[in-house]
Symmetry: C3
Subunit: 253 residues, 3 copies
């Protein structure tokens, strides 16, 4: 494809690695750093100023750091103050508000809406249309499915917010809601359309509205009687144990 | 930031107040009026023609009026025939179809989808991804949380639609559904993931799927035993009583 | 409106019918074919390359075919490998991933997210924000309402996926979830916020979370005692029987 012309706007203090590739109609605001081999799709905005930009004379823009080998698909908006480690990727039309910290190899699905001020481990996968409230904490290898909502206010509206905390390897099924401040232990499975209104121990299988503890995920078997969880023994696509197997990877780690 | 060049398209009969600011790659169709100090973000379309534009030779474009001090964030689409009073704001990628009437100080969250022909009071706040069907009525100080759906057809598909009516100060929790034609009284609280299938009196606390009346919101207390509702006594951010207090503001009003 | 300038990028092997109309800031990748009288809105991407474009040297782009009299509204993204028959239309910001096959007269609502590798009959209507997983099959005259999710993995994550199959004339209410591999017979009605976890016979009225069979749709009556289903006897807007009536149309067919 021949780029007829390129409408990229860049601000002050921007560093784009020479090996990175920037699409058409992209706006990059002050203080953005884009790592080696990263790709920014068309119509993206990187380093979007915070709301105070519109109201405060002395607005100061925080840096925005996108690691190497990242892929930001088209129409995405990333606010100032985010830090993404290497191999960060997004679907289309992702909105990421300010001051999140993402580990490496995160994948944020199309239309997901990250409200800001949250902490993500490594290898987190949000599928499409996930809504993460401010103040959330997600561990490593967490997977969240479409239309899940993380809430931070039990009796809205409030100024005392508290986001959920989700442990490593936990899976949260479509359209489930994590209520304000709940802690979900590692290796849990939350069914689809579930209301998670209380803390859950590791390895919980929890489902329904209102949600109820169904049992231990380690008792879930496939048709052949093989255990399905912990899932890293049967699924490794894009995971760091994909060549060694999960047990050996854990040992070496 | 230096704007390398500006790709704004404007139609006939457009009035943009000299103090307003228009972003990059914006399209403004015929008959749009943008008030003082308002900001239109990048990639927005204002005054989008109705479907009949594509099918009728004699299409007539209705005026689109955006009040003063408004902020339309990037990638938003506002159809012709809307009227927004002052201090209207949107998140990103909001879609607002034709012929709504918005009072002042409305805030429409990222990805919200307003189907048109609805009436909004003042100080209405829709959080992200709210879906408002045609023919809805929202009072003043109403707050709606992510993925809530307003429905207007009980046995789809139909041509006899009837939208919900929501009273002043009412809060509707995430992923709740308001069925066709329901009326929710003022000062009510609808829990998360709730099915609202019948009319509710003022001060109702209603929750669950199927939804059930839990009680009167005025009996909900915090850990110190203080009542949480009506909420204007404990929350005033961006509200007109923020300096006077709710009681005095009501008196003066 | 005067187009100040036009920023259309087109790739190799692109055919745009002379009667088609292309908006501003549109990108059309290699191998796209756009039929007579079709309209592509602003900020659209047609023929978006697959993920392997970023990782494989020898990436080959599949053709993308959009039939005649189609309307792709602004900000939509259509991946390579899709085939849409005539009278295809979308709302705004639709994302359609690779290799779907759409019959004629499909309408895909604003913000809908089609994950790819699925088969759609004719006259399918997805309202806003519908999520269709890979490997789904939708019959003719199917209507799906906002925030419905089609799932293809029962115990995530998995590589053995199986999408749902939905029969002709079936209606799926807002926020319902079709679990992996379920088959819904023709002429069924799924209520709002329903979990469809098992196969359903034709004419099923199924509702709730967990979902339960309420009865036969043919027993649902309006206030006058007239049957509401099958719905083609009472609704014909945009349907092929709109001039003949449903019975006569079926006979002639």
């Amino acid at each position: 494809m021949i780029g007829l012309y390129h409408t990229i706007q860049t601000g002050k203090g921007v560093f784009i690695h020479p090996s990175a590739s920037i699409g058409q109609h992209v706006t990059i605001y002050d203080g953005v750093r884009i790592g080696a081999n990263s790709v920014i799709g068309d119509y993206c905005t990187i380093g979007e100023p915070l709301h105070s930009f519109y109201t405060q004379e002395n607005y100061i823009q925080s840096p925005t750091i996108i690691g190497a080998n990242s892929l930001i698909r088209s129409h995405s908006i990333i606010y100032a103050g985010n830090q993404m480690d290497d191999y960060f990727s997004t679907g289309h039309r992702v909105t990421i508000r300010e001051n999140n910290r993402f580990g490496s190899h995160n994948s944020i699905g199309t239309l997901s809406d990250i409200q800001g001020e949250s902490v993500f481990g490594s290898y987190v996968r949000l599928h499409s249309s996930v809504h993460i409230c401010q103040g959330s904490t997600l561990g490593n290898y967490v997977m969240i499915y479409p239309f899940v909502v993380f809430m931070n206010d039990r009796y809205p509206p409030t100024t005392h917010t508290k986001g959920p905390i989700v442990g490593d390897y936990t899976q949260v099924g479509v359209q489930s809601v994590l209520h304000s401040g709940v802690r979900i232990g590692e290796n849990s499975l939350i069914g689809a359309q579930t209301s998670v209104h209380k803390d859950l121990a590791p390895f919980s299988f929890f489902s329904g509205n209102p949600g109820a503890l169904i049992g231990d995920v380690r008792t879930i078997k496939d048709e052949m009687g093989n255990p399905l969880y912990p899932w890293p023994y049967r699924f490794d696509r894009g995971m760091p144990w994909s060549e060694l197997g999960y047990d050996r990877w854990k040992e070496e780690k």
